[in-house]
Symmetry: C2
Subunit: 431 residues, 2 copies
Amino acid sequence: MTQLKQARKGIVTPEMEAVAKTEGLQPEFILKGIADGNIVIPVNKLRKNLKLCGIGKGLSTKVNANIGTSTDFGSVASEVEKLKMAEMVGADTIMDLSTGPKINTIRKAILENTCLPLGTVPVYQAAVEAKDRYGAMVKMTADDLFGAIESQAREGVDFVTVHCGVTRQVIDTFKGQGRLTDIVSRGGTFTAGWMVFHGAENPLYEHFDRLLDICREYDVTLSLGDGLRPGCIADATDRAQVAELLVLGELVKRAREAEVQVMVEGPGHVPLNQIEANVRLQKSICEDAPFYVLGPLVTDIAPGYDHITGAIGGAIAAAAGADFLCYVTPAEHLSLPDVTDVRNGVIASRIAAHAADIVKGVNGAAERDRQMAIARKKLDWETQLKLSLDPEHARVTRDRFKTRGKACSMCGDFCAMELAEKHLGVSVSRC
Amino acid sequence: MTQLKQARKGIVTPEMEAVAKTEGLQPEFILKGIADGNIVIPVNKLRKNLKLCGIGKGLSTKVNANIGTSTDFGSVASEVEKLKMAEMVGADTIMDLSTGPKINTIRKAILENTCLPLGTVPVYQAAVEAKDRYGAMVKMTADDLFGAIESQAREGVDFVTVHCGVTRQVIDTFKGQGRLTDIVSRGGTFTAGWMVFHGAENPLYEHFDRLLDICREYDVTLSLGDGLRPGCIADATDRAQVAELLVLGELVKRAREAEVQVMVEGPGHVPLNQIEANVRLQKSICEDAPFYVLGPLVTDIAPGYDHITGAIGGAIAAAAGADFLCYVTPAEHLSLPDVTDVRNGVIASRIAAHAADIVKGVNGAAERDRQMAIARKKLDWETQLKLSLDPEHARVTRDRFKTRGKACSMCGDFCAMELAEKHLGVSVSRC
C-alpha cells in the first residue's frame, strides 16, 4: 500500500511518524496532509534506512540537489563525492540526472551511498540506451521508456520526474506561442522531439495508467515535470507553460484517484513580480499538490552566479507557498557543476528555504534566528558558528583575520555590541 | 548652487545631462525628479571627472560597495585594491567606512583613485581622532564632529551618512522597546552612547541647520542613517526603528527646504514578508526621498553567505521601490571583507538590482535579458559571456570542463537547444 492509500485508511505509518518527529508536528497532521494530497513522503517501499523527508503544506521547505554525469564528464567517484557534499551541507533529497556513459552504474552507486530520498528522470536512461541500441535516441520505444521507469522503481528510486504534460495539444499551443528559447527542459525537448518524429501522442500521457501502476506498486512518488518551463525571462508565464500546467492538474487528480503520491514541478526563469502568481496558479490548478520549483531564476544575465538568482526566486516562491526547491548551482548555463558548486548551490537554496520558513511560520524556523541574535549580542562566536547553515565555511571566514579582542575584524574597537554595553548600560550579559 | 537648487530654477546642469544620457531618459525627467526630491545626484561641487550616478524614482537601481579599514586590518594598498575590484565588477558608488589608523590617509587615497561618487560616515573620523586626542572616543565634542564633516566636504566627499535621527526621544522609545540585539549600527551606537555620556541631545539633530549649511556649500548629499536599524529578524520593524524613521521624514523636509539633496537609509535585518511594507512606509513618511537599504538580510543564520541573504532582500526591496542597495559581502558578521568578498558582494547586489529593474520597467533592463536569451538559443557563447554581469567569472566557469561540441558540459549530447533544432524544426538560426 502506498503512503497515500494508508493515509486514506487512517493508518499512521512509521514513515509518517518519522516525518512528524522531524517537523515537530503531530503524526495526524502528516496523515491528513498525505490523505488530502498536499503532503508527500517520497519513499520507495524497497528503500531501507532512509532519512525520510515530508514535502508539502505546513512543513519546512525542502531542498533538492541534482548531481550526475553528462556525455563528456563525471564518474562514479566524482558523483559520489558531490553526493557526500550535498548531504554534508544539508540537502533533503538528491536527484541523479546522469546522461553520460554507464548511467545505470552511476545511479546504483548513488543509491548505495545515500540515505536521502533519490529522484531520477528515467527518460534519460531510456534515451541513452536507445542511442546504444538503435543508433538514435529518438528511436526509443514506449516500452523502452516504461521499462526504464519500472527497472528504476525496482532498484528503489523514490521519485521520478516524468514529462507527462507535453501532449500534442500542448505542443500546438507552444508552436502558436513563439518563444525566444523554445524548450529548455532536456526531457521536455526529447519528448516533444520523439512525438514529432513518430507522429504520436506522448506515451506517458496516453498510457498514464501504466505509469500509475508502476508507481503504485513501489510507492514511487510522481514528480510531474514541466517540459515547457520557460527558459528565459521573456518566455515566462506564457500560454505554452500554462497549457501544460492545466494538463498536470488533470493528471494530479488521476494520480490521487490511483492512490499514487504526486507533486508538480514548476519554472524556471520567471521575473520577480510573476513568481507569486505562478505559485498561486499551480496551487489552484493542481489542488494544493506540493510544488517543486527550479529556482525560479529572476534574471538571465548572471551566469556563474545562478545560485543567487535562484535563491532570490526560490525565497519568494517558497514564501508564496512553494514546498520544494531544486537547487541551482553557480555552474548553471555554463558547465557541469563541481563539488564546490554543489556546496554553494545547496546552501543558497537552504537560505531561500529558511527565509521563507520564517514567514511561513514553520515550526522552529524563527527561533533559530532568535538564538543566533542572542549569540551575536553576547559575541558568543562558538554558538554563532554552531547555528550557522554552514559552520565550517563561517569558521574559515572568521579565522582569516584574527582579532585581539572579542569583536570581529570588521569593527575591531568600533564593535557596536561592545559600544552598546559600555555606553548604554544595555549589558551583553542580559541576553 | 546645489543640483536641487538649480533643478528648482529649471536649470538643466551638465550632471543632469550626463545622468539622463546614462539612463536613456530625457534631461527634463531628471530635473523634475531632483526638484521634487525623488532623485539625487551625489556630486560634491569640488569633485572632477566623476562617473555620475543618479539615484531615485524611474532610474536603474544603484549599488554601493563599502570598503575601508578596521582597528586591526587594512591598509592603503588593500583598500585601493578592493576599490579597483568594486569598480571592475560594476559598483555605482563607494563608501569608505575606515575606522582604523591613518583614517584620513586612506580616505584621500580612495578619493584620488576612484571616479565613482564617494560616501563616508564622518563620525568615524571624529571618534577615532577623539580617541587619539582625549583618550576616549566618547569625549568627542560637537565641534569635532562638524569639523570632520566640513573637512571631508572640502576634500570632495559626495555623500555622508549622518545619524541625525537618534534623538533623545527615539532613545527613550528604544529603551521601552527591548531588543535582542539593541543597536547594531556603529554610528548609531556611538551617537547614542555619546548622548547618554554627555546627557545631551544628538548634535546632528540639535544643530541640523549647521549640517545643512555645510552640505549646501559643497552640494554634499545627505544620507540620513538609520542608527536604530534592526540587527536581527526578531527586532525588525519595531517601534524604535519606526520612531527614528519619523524623525528622518521630518529632516528630509528640512533638507529640501534648505535645497540640500537628501536620501534615507533603511534596514537591515527584515523578514521577507515585511520588506515591501518597510519600503512603502519609508516612501510615504519621507515623501519619496530615495531609499538606500542595507540588504535587507532575510535571515540571521547564514554567516559566510550574507551576500545571498542580502540579495534576496535587496531584490524584493528594490522591486518594491528601493532605489539604492548597499552591498553585503560574504564576510559580513564574521570579518573584514577581502577583495574576493568585494567582488561577490557587488555582483550579488547587482543581480538583485537588475532583477528588480526588470520588473520596475527600467529602460533597457529586460532587453538585456532578451538578448541573453537569444544568444543562449543560438549557443553563441561569446555573446552570452559579453552580456553577463561578470564575464570573466562566467568564462572561467565555462572553460573548466571543455566540451567537444557546441553545447556546454552540463548537457553534452543532451543539449535541449540542439535537440529542439534537430527534432522540432525550431531552427537555432531563426533567433
